[in-house]
């Protein structure tokens, strides 16, 4: 199991001040900078957009996510990465993203579980039922709905949809009434036990503006999660959306999710 420790120096201003560090300086010293530049080594799939130079314009983007259920191996790397990246409490009741395991037996009995959100992977199934007909993992997260019920019900405007399509929460403005949590059909929201405000997946908005993909997408080993532009561009997500039959969760609620599933079983809700 990998360590979840985040080095203290990770971008904390105090550390940077006390020990000013210039990466270019370091590269020069190592003598490595000459042959290796970005163009030589191909970095596949893992960029939300071309690296920006600090002037990010949200009106030029519209983000979404694609999830191929057939590729998810239930390793839980995404859950761990999300908790680490976003300082989500490490207990088993607060998740921005989690993985569900579905076991559909020949007698149509459906078992679903998500031990610790899938953070530690999935132990062998304990229960003895009839024979398994289908079984698979389904990653879940906030669907960043275009018609988000949580945004609709927030009484004060503390949760909102950005121009580029992310549904975010304003920690300093949320009054903690929890109406948004009730309104979310997907169970994607939770109340932060320390700050007492609503919390949720942000699509790692702080990474997007720097051209990085969300942490869960970054670490997904099988490419089950794809992130990118929804509109018109040639991106891995656009290709994914062209070549798969797509479904969204609970379409009858007309929330217009922007997380698209390929190979989703009808039992998933």
């Amino acid at each position: 199991m990998m360590s979840t420790d985040v080095p203290d120096a990770a971008g904390s201003p105090a550390a940077e001040e006390s020990k000013p560090f210039d990466r270019r300086e370091f590269l020069k010293k190592c003598g490595l900078a000459v042959p290796i530049v970005l163009g030589v080594v191909r970095v596949p799939l893992l960029e939300a957009q071309a690296p920006s130079n600090g002037d990010y314009d949200p009106s030029e983007h519209l983000y979404g996510m694609g999830i191929d259920v057939n590729k998810c191996i239930g390793c839980g790397q995404c859950v761990l990465a999300c908790k680490t990246e976003n300082d989500v409490p490490l207990d088993s009741h607060h998740f921005n993203t989690w993985i569900e395991r579905y076991v559909i037996r020949t007698d149509e009995e459906v078992e679903v579980d998500s031990p610790n959100g899938g953070l530690d992977g999935f132990p062998p199934m304990a229960s003895e039922g009839s024979e398994i007909r289908r079984t698979f993992f389904v990653p879940k997260l906030c669907n960043h709905c275009a018609e988000a019920p949580c945004v609709q019900v927030c009484p004060v405007g503390a949760t909102f949809t950005t121009e580029d399509g992310a549904v975010l929460v304003d920690d300093e403005y949320c009054i903690g009434c929890r109406y948004c949590i009730q309104a979310c059909p997907y169970g994607a929201r939770w109340l932060h036990p320390e700050t007492h405000v609503a919390a949720k997946c942000t699509f790692c908005y702080h990474r997007l503006v720097d051209g990085l993909v969300p942490a869960c997408v970054e670490v997904c080993p099988t490419g089950a999660r794809l992130f990118g532009e929804l509109e018109g561009r040639a991106t891995p997500l656009a290709r994914f959306m062209r070549f798969n039959d797509l479904q969204v969760l609970k379409p009858h609620l007309n929330t217009k999710p922007k997380v698209y599933y390929a190979n989703l079983d009808g039992e998933v809700r």
Binding site: V156, Q182, G187
Partner: protein, 407 residues
């Protein structure tokens, strides 16, 4: 826990306090609607309870926002609801519906109704009472005939505006739940209507209880014409309320949507006591039977003629059962909607905490508070007409009133 729930559903996000909130606003709306009966529809029999009902409504309305406030993660940010209300949010309208109802309807109606008395008290009294009553007149001490006529006219108009406002106040609370499409237990177009009629039921029952107990404490006879009339109204309102609930129930059962399986499980296990036993049998069927048999509701003469003393007792008992039933309705709506997973695959449990802002004691305190406020209001604005010298010493029994009505 049973079956599968989404990991984030482990915690129930709305607790006891949110059960109290619709219960209390329901009492407000119900008490006000009862008061308007006398004023607008000229039901003379219930006139002894007119002012009492208004003060009861005010006492409960003042308490209504407190459970919400105590429940907020950041109570000190609650003012944002008034500053930047999200017009798409059902909850954002709370501030405005509440302010409208408190400022424009209830306070104005009470003010116009009491102004003449306030001026008279101020003129006849000494000490702090004199100044309190003077301040309450806002300096409008004109008691000319024209002026009093104006009071009466305005009071009437406000009541006419007040009835739809009371409907709005509680219908709106129902809408907060009924409009959550993510939750099949809540999402129903009937929800505001059911809330409204259960509010009327609870309000009438509450005023009946307070009227009887207050009369007892004041050593005054209960006006049986008034009590009978209240019982009849209570009976009719309950018939409508129970019919609406049954309609909702049958409609769900007949449509048998995706959620029917888990909701059936919910009723059979988690809600059996609070829904079937408390809400339906104790809170509706028994009082309906008792009132139907002993009050003059079904015919001019009651089916069973019982002596006044027994009838009073039956009315009081029925009204208390009704309160238990209505509190159960609120519980079943608020908690029921959270006890099953939105994955429709499992049930969870609610763990009541005793202490803390959202605990049982806080709830009890909030339910007792309106009676304390009512006691103060009755001292400052006596709703009855005899001289205060004849009143029994206050206190003693007053504090026990809450426990008599709390389910």
């Amino acid at each position: 826990m049973q079956g599968f729930i989404y990991p984030n559903e482990y915690e129930l996000y709305w607790g006891l306090l949110i059960v109290v909130y619709p219960y209390v606003t329901g009492l407000v709306a119900g008490a006000f609607i009862l008061a308007s009966l006398e004023r607008v529809f000229n039901v003379k029999e219930v006139q002894p309870t007119y002012r009492l009902a208004l003060l009861t409504a005010l006492a409960f309305l003042l308490v209504a926002p407190l459970p919400l406030l105590a429940h907020l993660g950041h109570p000190f940010r609650s003012y944002e609801i008034f500053l930047t209300p999200n017009r798409q949010s059902a909850m954002a309208m709370f501030g405005f519906v509440y302010a409208w109802y408190l400022m424009v309807v209830l306070l104005l109606e009470i003010w116009f109704d009491y102004r003449k008395d306030l001026v008279l008290w101020y003129r006849s009294e000494t000490g702090w009472r004199r100044w309190v009553h003077y301040a309450l007149t806002l300096g409008a001490t004109d008691l000319s005939e024209k002026s009093l006529k104006f009071d009466d006219k305005m009071g009437r108009w406000i009541t006419i505006i007040g009835i739809p406002s009371a409907f709005l106040l509680h219908g709106y609370v129902g809408f907060i739940f009924g409009s959550v499409k993510a939750n099949p237990w809540w999402s129903s177009v009937l929800m505001p209507v059911v809330f409204l009629f259960s509010a009327i039921v609870s309000g009438i029952a509450l005023v009946l209880i307070i009227y009887m107990i207050a009369s007892m404490l004041r050593w005054k006879p209960v006006d049986m014409r008034c009590a009978d009339k209240l019982a009849v109204f209570l009976f009719y309102a309950m018939v409508v309320d129970v019919s609406l609930e049954m309609l909702d129930f049958i409609h769900r059962l007949y449509e048998s949507e995706e959620s029917i399986g888990i909701l059936t499980q919910l009723i059979q296990s988690r809600l059996f006591i609070s829904l079937v036993v408390l809400q339906l049998v104790l809170g509706a069927l028994i009082p309906l039977t008792l009132l139907g048999l002993t009050s003059p509701a079904l015919s001019k003469e009651p089916i069973f003629k019982v002596p006044d003393e027994l009838r009073r007792l039956i009315y009081l008992g029925s009204a208390i059962l009704v309160q238990i039933g209505i509190f159960s309705i609120r519980w079943n709506v608020v908690m029921g909607g959270q006890l099953f997973s939105k994955s429709l695959r499992g049930l969870t449990v609610y763990r009541v905490e005793l202490f803390g802002l959202e605990g049982l004691f806080m709830t009890m305190a909030l339910l007792a508070l309106p009676f304390v406020i009512l006691w103060v209001l009755v001292k400052v604005l006596p709703p009855w007409t005899e001289d205060e010298a004849h009143l029994p010493q206050p206190g003693a029994g007053t504090d026990e009133r809450p426990s008599a009505t709390l389910p």
